[in-house]
């Protein structure tokens, strides 16, 4: 059952420190596990309801950008690096070769014009805490001039290798997670997009 507003935990940063407010765990009693055949005690349940507080660090511009309809990437601009000019999506804070800080760039237009499917899979299964509709159409997206291949999901259309896709963004009610970014096949209209998403 979803938590009520009063049961949720919220966190701000004040003076450089996390300030949690609200409820972060609801204790629930352990329950014994009996073997119904023998009537003997076999074990115990250990219910856990916890909230992790996690820093995005230098990747925060990517996750904040999604809610603004922007796809942020990073690029190595170190003149002395063998792989200078490489664009990374997933955004990497540091160049994996020279370990100098990458430059954060906006690749939204590049994605809108060059994204295509490298591979895909459709699964009807998910794990606990999944928020995506089932079946999930996983896609891996290539972009022209980008040295890596982003994992995402296809929200509208059927996946095929090399099919052109365009990004959509959860701009109306962002969750600030990777699920704020999805893709649709080229030619999809605004009215077909999932609730809250825009091009």
């Amino acid at each position: 059952m979803p938590k009520t507003e009063n049961e949720k935990g919220f966190v701000d940063i004040i003076n450089g420190r996390y300030k949690p407010e609200g409820v972060f765990h609801i204790p629930e009693a352990n329950q014994p596990i009996f073997n119904k055949d023998t009537g003997k005690l076999a074990g115990i349940t250990n219910p856990r309801d916890m909230t992790y507080i996690h820093s995005y660090g230098g990747e925060a511009p990517f996750f904040e950008g999604l809610g603004k309809g922007k796809l942020m990437a990073s690029r190595c601009d170190n003149e002395k690096c063998d792989t200078k000019g490489s664009i990374y999506q997933p955004l990497r804070i540091y160049c994996p070769d020279c370990l100098r800080k990458n430059t954060i760039i906006d690749m939204t237009n590049l994605a809108k014009t060059t994204a295509k499917i490298h591979s895909y899979i459709i699964t009807h299964r998910s794990g606990a805490f999944n928020s995506l509709p089932i079946p999930i159409k996983f896609i891996n997206v290539e972009f022209e001039g980008v040295v890596t291949i982003l994992m995402s999901v296809l929200a509208v259309g059927e996946p095929e290798i090399d099919k052109k896709v365009v990004p959509i963004f959860n701009t109306k009610a962002p969750t600030y997670t990777i699920t704020d970014l999805r893709f649709v096949v080229e030619g999809t209209s605004e009215s077909e997009l999932p609730e809250g998403f825009t091009f």
């Binding site: 997933p90 895909y120 794990g127 606990a128 999930i136 040295v147 994992m151 990777i178």
Partner: protein, 473 residues
């Protein structure tokens, strides 16, 4: 990295020879509702003592340091589980450490144990692994496994690791399998083979007598993978004890030489940049000169179709052991068959066939104990334990189970472990009426591949009869 320096390509060197003295395994199953983890670990350790005709107390006298493989702390809600097991094995106050490298945890645990002996720090070490995945509901288990992917960039996408993995299978299926029915059949044959071999293994969790039609008609998990294409999710423990030469011969008259190497690649498949294929000793640049022409779409390496970590682990370990052609130089192999299709991918990574031609290892019959076409012994039988598909995948124990199974063949003692009716009875399992020995005749050398997830970490372990080494120390 996409380019390597000479220093990084150095063939690893053990400062003194290391020997595998004994191994042991527990029963493997989906769940043990009335058995604590330590009971399974003690079962494995006791089996290792039995194997060298010692009591556990006697065997413990030789151990100097301990290496424990246990991947998923969060499944058991118990940090420092290694310390719990170490205590229950009665090995305090010896030094011990936990090792975690996903699905390769078992292999990595042995990697650490071997290095400790090779360096001279210890003369005898214990590598023991286990996994406990039965103590959460399945959907929560799926979430916990998905936490082994990138928590920000992948896990929120469905909380289902299969999805992150299966995109690789899809690409291989399209590019190298060419979506052919015959390729689909070859995948199914692996599932039939490995589950069939598991029928002869009392430890095995998933033995089945099935046909390729059964595999192809089983429910879809993530197309083209079906339920019977996928490995088991198991609970259990396995271990091995490694020593310097003097100590090894104090424990047993027949220790095996052990060589071991590791490779890695990015946790996210997304981050894998294009690079030149590193070559194994049985390959030349010409091997791949027309790969893109033969398999359009395969130009990117390793892309989604190869496991660089496995290739590098093979490169290092073949170099250490003097393997030039694994098909010719090895007699038995255990591969990480998490999925039928990834098993095929691994054949290429470790050089059983060149990239693009992995299916031929099955289709030729080389991978069988008895080649179904020629009715003669297969050139390099694989996964006679049943593998992850038929025997078990209890993550922290898997790589050690593979090493144990290879050891039983090279020791020529496979029957002793798998045949006794008492063991079948003790495990509550029915021995098949058509039980048959899978002992590889005259096995002198074997390889085990321990592999993590989408290929983030791979360990290659080679065991050899010391009288049949390929390379001088």
């Amino acid at each position: 990295m996409i380019k390597f320096s000479d220093k990084q390509l150095k063939i690893p060197k053990l400062m003194r020879p290391v020997y595998l003295a004994t191994v042991g395994m527990s029963k493997f199953d989906r769940a043990f509702p009335e058995t604590r983890t330590e009971e399974l670990c003690i079962q494995a350790f006791t089996a290792a003592a039995d194997f060298v005709n010692m009591t556990p107390s006697e065997l413990k006298q030789y151990i100097h340091t301990c290496y424990y493989g246990h991947f998923a702390d969060h499944f058991g809600d118990q940090l420092l589980g290694e310390s719990v097991i170490h205590d229950r094995l009665g090995l305090d106050p010896l030094g011990n450490i936990g090792v975690k490298t996903g699905g390769a945890t078992g292999g990595s645990t042995m990697w650490e144990a071997v290095k400790a002996v090779a360096s001279g720090y210890s003369d005898c070490t214990l590598a023991l692994g286990w996994e406990r995945m039965d103590e959460v509901p399945t959907d929560e288990g799926n979430h916990l496994i998905s936490a082994a992917a990138d928590k920000d960039w992948e896990t929120p996408l469905g909380h289902i690791y299969t999805g992150y993995y299966a995109v690789m299978a899809q690409r291989y299926w399209k590019i190298f399998g060419k979506e052919e029915d015959s390729f689909r059949d070859t995948m199914a044959e692996i599932a039939v083979k490995n589950r069939g071999y598991a029928r002869m293994n009392p430890h095995a969790h998933g033995p089945m007598k099935i046909t390729t039609e059964d595999v192809k008609n089983s429910p879809i998990v993530a197309y083209p993978l079906r339920v019977l294409d996928c490995c088991l999710m198991s609970v259990g423990s396995a271990c091995g004890i490694v020593c310097d030469e003097k100590t090894a011969y104090e424990i047993t008259d027949n220790p095996l030489r052990i060589y071991i190497g590791a490779g890695s690649h990015t946790l996210r498949v997304a981050d894998r940049r294009n690079m030149t294929i590193p070559l194994l000793p049985n390959e030349t640049p010409d091997t791949y000169k027309d790969l893109g022409k033969r398999f359009p779409g395969s130009e990117r390496y390793p892309g989604f179709t190869g496991f660089l970590a496995a290739r590098m682990a093979a490169y290092y370990t073949y170099g250490m052991a003097g393997i030039n052609d694994p098909i010719e130089d090895l007699d038995v192999i255990e591969l990480h068959d998490a999925f039928t299709i990834s098993d095929i991918q691994s054949y290429e990574d470790v050089g059983l066939r060149p990239y693009g031609e992995g299916r031929d290892y099955i289709e030729s019959g080389d991978a069988y104990l008895i080649n179904p076409q020629t009715k003669k012994p297969g050139k390099l039988p694989s996964n006679l334990s049943g593998g992850l598909i038929g025997c078990m995948h209890a993550v922290g124990a898997t790589g050690l189970m593979q090493i144990a199974e290879i050891g039983y063949h090279v020791w020529n003692r496979w029957d002793e472990i798998h045949e006794p009716q008492e063991k079948w009875d003790a495990f509550g399992r029915k021995k098949p009426n058509d039980w048959a020995s899978l002992q590889v005749q005259d096995a002198k050398r074997g390889l085990a591949i321990s592999h993590a997830g989408v290929g983030s970490q791979v360990i290659a372990t080679i065991l050899m009869d010391p009288k049949n080494l390929l390379k001088e120390d």
